[in-house]
Point group: C2
Chain length 271, copies 2
């Protein structure tokens, strides 16, 4: 398995090992990067609040004393990073990095690194287990209502694989929202984008899978109604396990990397 974090061209030079190699390589950044970094620091440090307007390009030209083209290139860096955004008038505002954007990039990185379904599945097992336990503690009546509604819709759509797959994603998303943990929420986004979409395929090739899916959801919801954390956890583990069984049942190996063309399709649908 290849590592993901090797990088021969490390700017920082790593930890200084002893007395030799005193000076690390100097980072001679181009001006557009310096512009981007300067603005980024203002935002991250909180000196510019999210929603607050960044100056116009002309302002930045004056402040930084560089050409407008240079400013614009710097802005492009930040724009992709999600730290600034444009409203309808295309003016620039500071922003908090968007969530789904990050999730898309994370998922894309996994695809490019040829992460296997096994890795995805193991992470799913861990995260969803934690989510359901937290949800058992914290879910509100409103959250339970959402789950009930989702469950009813799922039972109605049990013969429609594509609809059911969407409802499956929705189910777990509701659950995670109820768990009230944004770190787990982001950590489980790759599941939404890469893992759960495969359920549609499973439902198509194996009608049994659809029923087991909805049954598991039902059992989890019932357990949450009773605030029965242990039972909810048990069913969640079964539920995630079922995916693996289903995957193997249709003759695919869980150890193969996520299919690139498939994932590209999925990721582009919500670029």
């Amino acid at each position: 398995m290849q590592s993901m974090d090797n990088d021969p061209e490390d700017q920082d030079g790593g930890a200084d090992t002893g007395a030799g190699n005193r000076f690390g390589p100097i980072a001679a950044s181009p001006a557009y990067k310096l512009v981007a970094d300067a603005i980024e620091r203002q935002i991250v440090s909180g000196r510019v609040r999210p929603g607050e307007a960044i100056g116009t390009e002309a302002d930045l030209v004056k402040q930084f004393g560089v050409n407008r083209s240079t400013v614009r290139e710097g802005i492009r860096l930040l724009e992709q990073g999600g730290l600034i955004r444009r409203d309808s008038s295309r003016r620039l505002y500071a922003s908090v990095p968007r969530y789904d954007r990050l999730a898309t990039r994370i998922s894309r990185a996994f695809v490019l690194h040829e992460v296997t379904f096994r890795e995805l599945w193991e992470a799913t097992m861990a995260i969803e287990s934690a989510v359901v336990e937290l949800a058992a503690d914290r879910i509100s009546d409103e959250g339970l209502g959402e789950l009930d509604l989702n469950l009813r819709k799922s039972r109605a759509a049990i013969d429609k694989p594509s609809e059911l797959a969407i409802l499956d994603i929705e189910f777990h998303t509701i659950l995670c929202k109820a768990a009230g943990n944004r770190v787990l929420q982001l950590a489980r986004e790759p599941e939404n984008k890469l893992f759960f979409p495969t359920t549609e395929m499973l439902f198509q090739k194996n009608p049994q899978a659809a029923r087991r899916n909805v049954d598991a959801h039902g059992a989890i919801v019932a357990a949450l109604h009773r605030r029965d954390k242990a039972d909810a956890l048990l069913w969640m583990k079964r539920h995630v396990n079922d995916w693996k069984k289903g995957f193997e049942l249709i003759g695919k190996s869980i150890d193969e990397p996520i299919d690139r063309v498939y994932a590209q399709h999925v990721l582009e649908s919500n670029l």
Copy 2:
């Protein structure tokens, strides 16, 4: 708790609800974005392999039929996204998104969204538990050796909070590498950047914490040597729990958001 994924200006217009609202808003992207998207598709789809050279700016100008400035702005978007990179000669090559770069962005997003230590801690508990279980199955003798070495260094540095904090991060990083799961590896990066660095503070204010930390590491390593998954898991949970206790012991609330200035410092050290 605020949601992280609301966005009134959604480009896609969401799911079409019934027959009304047939046409979603048209995405009239500027040319530089079209350029970036075009190149991105080439890379993500695999038509351009990582490491392969992208044409020069002049080439792209010819291919896309736009001005060089426009091409350059498009390139800046991709550059920040990590899909292309420049070698020493500043030439452009396709690349796989770097891992630590992504991790930094994720962590920064958490800070800006004012995620609480509780959320981080809950995620840590889930992820580290999964990691140690997988590691118990998969760790090699070499991995065990690395852990042994880390443990020895930790015991030697038990009175040096800053060193010990670094060794603590290293311990969990080794463990995750041994678990052989890159999804979890990325998911736990925010711990490295935001959660574990707080241990230095704990060690400083409470010498007991350092000892408990190293003891827990020792117990985990011993369990892994015996391939005793249950015991390793038990000690890991204690270990993560200790952090919470220590945090409360020094009078801080686990429900407060991650301190912005502190986090900025940590994140900038490996920008």
